[in-house]
Symmetry: C2
């Protein structure tokens, strides 16, 4: 006999990307930033006192909210701090989605966690396939409205394709959609535009994370930006002390030293261009990416899954998804020049 709720007993849990521990490996499988975070982050962590650890952290992370608000030219009431961007996603389900009715809308493909969270929350999913060029179909909002969706999840720039939707397109979706539009900007630090100008709208919530652009995946720190009413609703469903004191001071240092993140992004973008060209030269099909990864389709005659395995045997880790439209492709995180060179050399040797 199981004590689990029926939907949890049935659930296939989220599978995080592998975290291999090989000594000498090229790890291009989980979209981590190849460059270290700002020195100020470790210094800030090192300054946390025993007394700060002993006491409860400020539950609302007010200092972080203030710093992030100033950074984005918003008010603290437009900001919520979360234990990774994933927590913001879960909180949005809890705050806006009923159970067994009025579910979420998403694209296909998209970040695979959305579906897992919907299944945990036991809320229905409306899935709209993306166009051939990975753009969102024009009737996306209409389809979601028809299904009665309360929450739309759009990752932009898109994962795993790297495609960027223009802000005007997102604005049109927000205007037409009758629920909350969550724009997951996990990769925005590598993109040319952001949906930040839409924060004033009553139904737009933007997700940010320090995991990618700020090189702090180990910290689990994300935040939401949105209309004060949306943020207030999310605050009601927040775990009472959801971010710890170490993460709060580290996150503040990261934002206050955002030039490090910008410099790292510049390097990643340059390598993205170089790796894209090298892969195309090797016969891969690689759509333009505005993220820190590429979705690359190997040349005819080379199966993506076996290429993934062959690279793995050389201790080069990339990501393979057994999902519609993705089985013939590999998602490759942009690494350092040395890591990317190692990948290119390996691909040449495997031809």
């Amino acid at each position: 006999m199981s004590y689990a709720r029926d939907n949890i007993a049935r659930l296939i849990a989220y599978a995080p990307g592998e975290q291999p521990t090989a000594e000498r490996m090229v790890k291009l499988n989980t979209n981590e930033n190849p460059y270290p975070p700002a020195d100020a982050v470790l210094k800030a962590v090192g300054r946390v006192s025993a007394d700060q650890l002993r006491r409860y952290p400020p539950p609302l992370a007010p200092a972080f909210r203030q710093v992030a608000a100033r950074f984005h030219c918003l008010e603290p009431a437009n900001v919520i701090a979360t234990n990774g961007g994933d927590e913001l996603l879960r909180m949005a389900f809890t705050a806006f989605c009923g159970v067994g009715e009025c579910g979420i809308g998403q694209t296909q493909p998209t970040y695979s966690l959305y579906e897992v969270l919907a299944n945990i929350h036991d809320t229905p999913i409306t899935t709209v396939p993306l166009n051939e060029d990975w753009s969102i179909p024009d009737d996306f909002a209409a389809q979601l409205n028809k299904a009665g969706c309360r929450l739309a999840l759009v990752v932009n720039p898109h994962a795993p394709s790297g495609h960027l939707e223009p802000v005007a397109k997102l604005e049109a979706i927000a205007g037409e959609f009758r629920g909350v539009l969550l724009i997951d900007e996990a990769y925005v630090d590598f993109a040319s535009t952001s949906a930040l100008p839409l924060v004033g709208r009553r139904n737009v919530l933007i997700l940010r994370t320090l995991s990618k652009g700020y090189s702090l995946a180990g910290l689990r720190f994300g935040y939401g930006l949105g209309h004060a009413d949306l943020i207030a609703t999310l605050d009601k469903v927040r775990d009472s002390y959801n971010t710890d004191i170490l993460a709060q001071v580290a996150a503040i240092a990261a934002i206050e030293n955002a030039e490090t993140a910008r410099d790292n992004a510049t390097k990643v973008i340059a390598e993205r261009q170089r790796l894209t060209s090298a892969l195309i030269e090797l016969g891969f099909i690689v759509p333009p990416s505005e993220t820190n990864f590429l979705l690359a389709q190997p040349p005819d005659g080379i199966e993506a899954e076996s290429l993934y395995q062959s690279l793995r045997e050389k201790a080069i880790f990339v990501r393979y998804f057994r999902q519609p439209r993705l089985t013939d492709k590999l998602r490759i995180t942009i690494g350092t020049p040395q890591q990317n060179d190692a990948l290119i050399a390996a691909l040449k040797s495997l031809r």
Copy 2:
């Protein structure tokens, strides 16, 4: 127009204890440990590298699970690491409780977060008043079974009374109750017994936290101990990377240096005895406590709420609950000898 779910729109959110910032204050209101954590904890945090922050943390916190399992003479499969004990509570609701049916059972009074989490989850609550001496009524499990509860929440030692139920009583409840019995041992480090021997049972889940006994409220680290099947179910509903790398290494160091926590608990218990006696001498009614706080009823003629306010004006912070059976009492965290002396002196001056 609100985008919030109806139950969230109606929700009265959890009110954490006040975190005053006065320069010279005596803070006895949120059950923090008055003594610092083991030095090894800060040292472990200081050893975390930029590269560890850059990469995702191990999602299952395997090193922590191993250390905690060894410490409690269990297997790693019996342990789950969470972002504070509060996250384990929320995960138990998600994993075991349906929505709109088959809710939770709790006592009255109890930790006030349980009711808030039930309202967030939109699951019904069956509340059983405690006996006059704060013990659990013999028909607790029967009442919960009758109501179809799927999850029972019992904080033991009890908050806010400090009362400890014997393990045999909890075992009887577990045997009779048809759902999962979550025993919240947030304060167990100050108690004479633990329900740990019940972990083998298929329906018992024990909550532990580093916030109190380990002086790490700022870290947000808790864990669950239970049958491997219960832990596996909780793992399915866990946020994908729910504990960060800083918290994981700090928590390992805390458990590996548990003698510091034990020494601190010994000091707290000695002060608990001294403060109890002093309060009784001042005419308070103080039931025996097995926690790091006392629930003290002022002598006739002194209103608890106005005493709370008078102490506050002297920068001495205790907790007052406007709840049934508690409006005539104060919850006082055990502080250092100096803090407790300051409290006693203030109470004398206010007579």
